[in-house]
Amino acid sequence: MQAFLQQVISGIAIGGVFASLALALVLIYNAMGLVNFAQGEMAMLATFAAYALINRGMSYWIALPVTLVLAFGGGIVIQRVVIRPAEKAPILALVIITLGLATLLNGLAGFIFGYVPRSFPSAFSAQTVDLLGVFISYRDLGVIGVSGLVLLAVYLLLQRTTVGLTLRAAAHHPEASRLLGVQVSWMLALGWGLASAVGAVSGIMVAPILLLEPNMMQSIIIYAFAAAVLGGIESPLGAVLGGLIVGVTVNLAGAYLPFVGGDLQLAVGLAIIIVVLIIRPNGLFGRAAARRV
């Protein structure tokens, strides 16, 4: 039982990482109906930025917010420079652009930092604490705490502030929002900035576990897709719960299903995507796509 609970807790921790990246995907999907295939690489590049800052002697807890600000700005720049010129293009063209962007950012990181995996510091020690017989590492608790805080901050921003209200309005009804004076184009840029910053958290949280290199996020993005699809690609809350469910499921499958082990965990993530799309394409929290004719 204790071993099981330990697996659940570390599943929740890695689930927090998936949840952050899934939330980033959902933010952009909501804003423009686009799945951003470059989200993982954007997070990876932000993590390299954090790495560079920490390597230059900046403390972890200063480097983290600085990186988030940089990622936010980077997301806005990407939207303005790469996405906006193609705003009116068919959605498939935009999807291809994000794929190209993913390749570009991956190559850029390789060019600057090389492909040798580097160890990334964690703010939390790998030691464990005994909570009623269940041993939990400070690192897992830290990841849960930081992801939780970020998700809470995004929730409050979207639901409790005027900026969040106009962001949601612009995402759902761009035309009607323009008539209310909402600057829709800037709201899209803001959405990209926000998504980029939230995604960066997932990269920084996962880097101490996976080692930092340009391909670090390529498995994480699959889990994030699984989480977003499971939650219903339009629902921020769904993305978060989906992330936690995927994290726990993958972790338990790795621990208790001998044929899965460590090697087939990614396949579990892909299986979740396929099963959800077959059984419940709108996910747990998605609304059925209805169209008035």
Partner: protein
């Protein structure tokens, strides 16, 4: 009275199809002007041209300033509230959030609070349903929400696109009473697009009748109401 809004020989259309063929009209400050005509005459396109929703040539001036090349957002911020065809309710959001989007650009907090009181005075049902999703409102309630939201923008000019569409006559009457009250006590100028000519002419002081993208008849509302042949051939009652 000086003109708040003037359109001069405005041509507009969608892609290759042109809809307006030189529409000129003038809306005096503080007045109510009706824009009447059959389906497809160009009434909605006229409103869309004013708030930059469709490409146009000619000139449109608001408060003496040309709206040429201004974005929809900037035109709205200059003081024009446009309640579009279909009412433009954001159905994913709550009633309260829709109202907040109306007032979100205003900094005169005290006045905003007073205006909310006015709105809930006009439409008590919106106060009851503040926390509910706007998608749960009936058609009449959605029209009330759209009007309330436009009022909270504190506009100089309101463009109303068929506020009577699809509503029961008794609700139409009460909504038009409130439009009259908004015009008279808050000095908001109104340009009203309607198919229901009778109720529109009762409210407005001046009217234009569009026919296939051109102004066919214009005049004082009373005059048009009294003119049998205009009534028969253009207004259909």
């Amino acid at each position: 009275m000086t003109a708040l809004l003037e359109m001069e020989a405005v041509h507009a259309g969608y892609g290759q199809t042109s809809v307006l063929h030189g529409v000129s009209l003038s809306v005096p400050e503080g007045g109510v002007v009706s824009l009447l005509g059959a389906n497809g005459a160009g009434k909605t396109t006229t409103l869309r041209a004013i708030t930059g929703g469709v490409r146009w040539t000619g000139d449109i001036r608001f408060g003496g300033r040309s709206l040429r090349r201004m974005s929809t957002e900037d035109i709205v911020r200059a003081g024009i509230a446009h309640v579009p065809e279909g009412r433009g309710i954001l159905t994913e959001l709550t009633v309260d959030e829709n109202l907040k989007l109306g007032s979100h650009l205003r900094r005169d907090t005290k006045e905003v609070r007073k205006d909310y009181d006015r709105v809930f005075d006009y439409f008590p049902v919106l106060k009851e349903r503040r926390a509910l999703s706007a998608s749960t409102l009936s058609g009449g309630e959605q029209q009330m929400l759209a009007l309330a939201r436009a009022f909270l923008m504190k506009p100089k000019l309101m463009l109303l696109d068929e506020p009577s569409l699809g509503l029961a006559p008794i609700i139409v009457r009460s909504i038009f009473e409130i439009i009259r009250s908004i015009n008279q006590s808050s000095r908001v100028t109104v340009l009203l697009v309607e198919q229901n000519a009778r109720i529109a002419l009762d409210l407005s002081t001046r009217a234009y009748v569009l026919e296939v993208g051109r102004v066919a008849v214009e005049g004082d509302s009373e005059e048009l109401q009294g003119n049998e042949s205009v009534r028969r051939s253009y207004l259909g009652y």
